[in-house]
């Protein structure tokens, strides 16, 4: 794995984190005050920042950082997540998503927008945070970090501090990045007194390792002081008794020496003294036996006023500030010392364990383990299984042809094989199935943006977002759905004043639901707006020559007029929905997915768009039929029942129309062979079979075919790649005998029979 692959993973992860962020913010918006929700939101932004930092994506890092800071205020209860606050955060989440996309795909972001949001976020973080504490705290240690050396002068050498007792003990409280005191860095020899406390060992540090590290800096001599080692019977094996005095010559500077002890600085007494050259070795031998120089800040406890006062008199004001920081550190040390007592420690860890257990219980509802697989691999697998299904069908067929009695063991084995194949296929399809949640979440953003532009107040409610459907369906769903949402908000919902006047709440609701119904996924988009203005639609249709002025249309038929090409009800083309894309395009893209779309509307109460889509685009259960010598496949989901028409049940209607009476109701009879131009005249219905089909929004039709061959699961092979879209035909498949069969597009055939037959026929003729 190289960095590019990891970067790819990072962007994938960003997408997940962004989804997590958005859903968390929406939950907060709905009044969820679970701290874990806030934590999850914070972590999402934090994670993006962390990864972005590693890849040097500075724009992303700086925005995420501001965002994170504000979220931290919410997390620490300094900022109440009100609707106003969350509005800013949701917008920020959108900008974060934009920045992520730009980082991945290039392009540019709306600088003004992100700058504006940074200002808003910063205002939120500042406005609500307690002013003094949070602002002053981080500043103080920073000032110290910048110049570690002067602190040294302020630090005491002996437990009893007096104005003559200062020694240059540098002590940094943060990163060692600052400039060094000139006088120090010039000198290459240092004396180091290092006295570990027992805490150093309990935190997993090891004096030996530190000294080993030190030895890598240069030539050094080392003396171990074992004076405080008690007799064996009084020895506490956990305690720290040794201290070391080291003289080292190095050109790496004091920085390097100190950074060796970076991790141990709180848990030891450390004194680093820069020596005049030549003096180092002298002092090392001078001091034996070595007096460990105590640098225990806890000694300052309670006596803080004394050294502070002295320092202030002696040094400049700058030094005084640093002493304050030192005092802070001192209190930290004291606190840690207090914690070191065993009873306290074990009590604390017991509490931690209890907390951990709590967490574990909470997490028991977490997702089952998953693995990530390249989509290509899944697709390859699906293709192979498709071939397997075809192959198995061919094998079955040839066995049946050669084995007339049908009870041989080969036959039984074949049946088992068929079942297994079917199960494999279902399982493979399940791999591709994904919840519609990501698409629904994207819609939330669309709603926000349009609500902003139109000045309407809109709430998006989603339901059934965990409903699963094939990934290819999901991918192709986003575009039509976005357009429909735009329409719903722009045309469907009224302005707040109008809503209030109509006795509705000022806030409009757009509801998006998904559910499984009889082997398909049904997605419903409803709004509580004004509904379709049928008079207007009708007039428009007449103006556009879509219908005759005196046409007698049902409400349903009028509503469905909006799916006609070039139809738009908005008086003027608006910014949003008038991008040259009409509902006809939406309908076509849904149909391209093998789906159907339907509208129902109640004036004053809003509209409902219902889309029904296949769960997968890879296989379908079909009825294999013969029409004019051609083999066709009719999707089983469309078929309500099949029947053998009786001559008495057939009634002529007009010049060419025929109706069939089924259980006392009439249903138009459609000759598939005629519609598809397989034959010039209509076949005799009594000689064929009628398939009663239900089409979306169009009621029932009886499709006439010549004969039924059987029912089969077929693998869908797209025709569009090679032949473009063929009206009336959804796709093709390969049958068990190796022949190609076309899959009928039932809806197209039904609507063709309803009056668009000319258009269909002419295009078919042109195609032929």
């Amino acid at each position: 794995m190289d960095m590019n692959e990891i970067k790819e993973i990072f962007f994938q992860e960003c997408e997940e984190q962004l989804a997590e962020l958005e859903s968390g913010l929406l939950r907060l918006n709905d009044g969820d005050r679970d701290p874990e929700t806030v934590n999850a939101v914070f972590r999402a932004v934090h994670s993006i920042k962390g990864g972005a930092g590693a890849f040097g994506l500075d724009d992303l890092v700086s925005f995420a950082h501001v965002f994170e800071t504000t979220l931290d205020c919410v997390r620490s209860n300094k900022l109440e997540p009100t609707q106003e606050v969350l509005k800013v955060m949701l917008k920020s989440a959108d900008v974060l998503a934009d920045l992520t996309n730009v980082a991945r795909d290039g392009g540019s972001v709306d600088q003004a927008r992100s700058a504006q949001l940074i200002r808003e976020l910063e205002a939120l973080a500042k406005g609500e945070a307690p002013p003094a504490a949070s602002a002053a705290e981080p500043a103080a240690p920073k000032a110290v970090a910048a110049k570690p050396a002067p602190v040294a002068k302020a630090a005491p050498v002996e437990p009893v501090v007096n104005e003559h007792g200062f020694a240059p003990v540098a002590f940094s409280f943060d990163d060692f990045g600052g400039d060094e005191d000139e006088a120090v860095s010039d000198l290459p020899a240092y004396d180091i007194v290092f006295k570990p406390k027992s805490e150093l060992y309990t935190k997993g540090n090891e004096a030996t390792l530190l000294l080993r590290d030190l030895s890598r800096l240069g030539e050094m001599s080392i003396h171990c002081n074992m004076d405080s080692l008690p007799p064996l019977d009084q020895m506490d094996p956990e305690a720290a008794y040794f201290s070391w005095k080291v003289s080292i010559k190095t050109d790496k500077g004091e920085d390097a020496v100190r950074s060796v002890f970076e991790f141990a600085e709180w848990d030891c007494d450390l004194e680093v003294t820069a020596m005049e050259t030549g003096e180092a070795s002298e002092s090392a031998s001078d001091d034996l036996p070595m007096q460990p120089v105590p640098f225990d800040l806890s000694a300052l406890d309670g006596d803080l006023d004394v050294p502070l006062g002295v320092v202030e008199e002696e040094e400049q004001i700058a030094a005084a500030q640093e002493a304050v920081a030192a005092a802070e550190t001192a209190s930290n040390v004291v606190q840690m010392a207090g914690n070191a007592s065993r009873a306290a420690a074990s009590e604390k860890s017991a509490a931690a364990a209890a907390a951990a257990q709590n967490n574990a219980q909470q997490a028991s509802s977490a997702a089952a383990p998953t693995i990530r697989v390249d989509l290509d691999r899944v697709d390859r697998l699906i293709n192979l299984v498709g071939e397997l299904v075809i192959n198995q069908a061919m094998l079955s067929q040839s066995v049946i042809e050669n084995d007339s009695n049908g009870v041989s063991s080969i036959n039984m084995g074949l049946e088992e094989l068929q079942q297994l194949t079917r199960e494999i296929q279902d399982s493979v399809m399940a791999i591709r199935a994904q919840p519609v949640k990501p698409v629904f979440q994207r819609m939330a953003r669309t709603v926000r943006e349009i609500a902003d532009i139109t000045g309407k107040s809109v709430r998006l409610v989603t339901e059934g977002e965990n409903t699963e459907v094939d990934k290819t369906v999901i991918d192709k769903l986003a575009e039509p759905l976005t357009h429909m949402i735009r329409n719903a908000v722009d045309h469907g919902l009224e302005m707040p004043e109008k809503r209030l006047a109509a006795g509705k709440s000022a806030e409009g609701t757009v509801k998006l639901t998904a559910k499984h119904r009889s082997g398909r996924i049904v997605i419903e988009l409803s709004d509580d707006g004004a509904g379709i203005n049928r008079e207007k639609v009708r007039q428009k249709a007449i103006d556009n020559d879509l219908i005759a002025a005196d046409a007698n249309l049902s409400d349903e038929e009028i509503d469905n007029l909006i799916f006609h090409a070039g139809f738009s009800t908005a008086d003027k083309v608006s910014d949003l929905s008038g991008r040259g894309v009409g509902m006809d395009v939406v309908k076509r893209s849904i149909q391209a997915l093998g789906g159907r779309i339907n509208i129902s509307s109640k004036p004053g109460h809003g509209s409902v768009f219902t889309m029904s889509l296949p769960l997968t685009l890879a296989v379908l259960d079909g009825m294999v039929v013969t029409v004019a010598g051609q083999t066709l496949v009719v999707p089983l989901t469309a078929i309500v029942e099949t029947l053998q028409p009786d001559a008495a049940a057939i009634h002529s209607f007009g010049a060419t129309q025929r109706l069939i009476s089924i259980r006392n109701s009439f249903c138009p009879l459609v000759d598939v062979g005629r519609i598809l131009n397989f034959r010039a005249t209509q076949a005799n219905p009594v000689e064929g079979v009628a398939l009663l089909v239900e089409s979306e929004g169009g009621g029932q039709r009886a499709l006439m075919v010549d004969a039924i061959q059987g029912q089969r699961q077929v693998v869908i092979k797209s025709l569009e790649a090679n032949y473009t879209h063929v009206p009336g035909i959804a796709a093709a498949t390969i049958l068990g005998d190796g022949r190609v069969a076309l899959i009928l597009d039932v809806d197209a055939v039904v609507s063709a029979s309803r009056g668009q037959s000319l258009q269909l026929e002419s295009s078919l003729a042109a195609a032929g």
Binding site: E5, H46, S47, Y201, N332, A360, A366
Partner: protein
């Protein structure tokens, strides 16, 4: 023998970076996605050093470190905190929980390896 590192981080990106960096540097790497999983795999993994994030779901880095220190077998194992939190307060909390040292993100392979070398024998 290869040194074993247990890394605990909820970010897939960082996990992969750690994996690549550590493997390239000749370490054996075991990975966990949060504090709970970290504690679960601790015994079996039997690492020489632990690198952990702070902000994690289920059980954060502080809780994880306390959990490790409570285990008699691992109470002295070096634990490095890998986090973007460079402010003193968080660092101090990690230390109180028992962290040995820290590495400040953005992730830098050299810094990471240096820190690990520093705390392991």
């Amino acid at each position: 023998m290869k040194k074993k590192v247990l890394t605990v981080d909820d970010s897939r990106t960082i996990r992969n970076m750690l994996l690549v960096t550590l493997n390239n540097a000749g370490f054996e790497t075991i990975q966990a996605e949060d504090g709970i999983e970290g504690l679960e795999v601790l015994e079996d993994a039997n690492p020489d050093v632990i690198v952990t994030d702070i902000n994690m779901p289920r059980l954060d880095g502080f809780g994880f470190i306390e959990g490790v220190r409570k285990n008699e077998k691992f109470r002295a194992i070096p634990i490095l905190v890998l986090t973007t939190e460079s402010d003193a307060e968080k660092k101090n909390r990690a230390r109180q929980a028992g962290a040995t040292g820290w590495i400040v993100k953005p992730f830098d392979p050299t810094k990471l390896i240096d820190a690990i070398e520093r705390v392991t024998a």
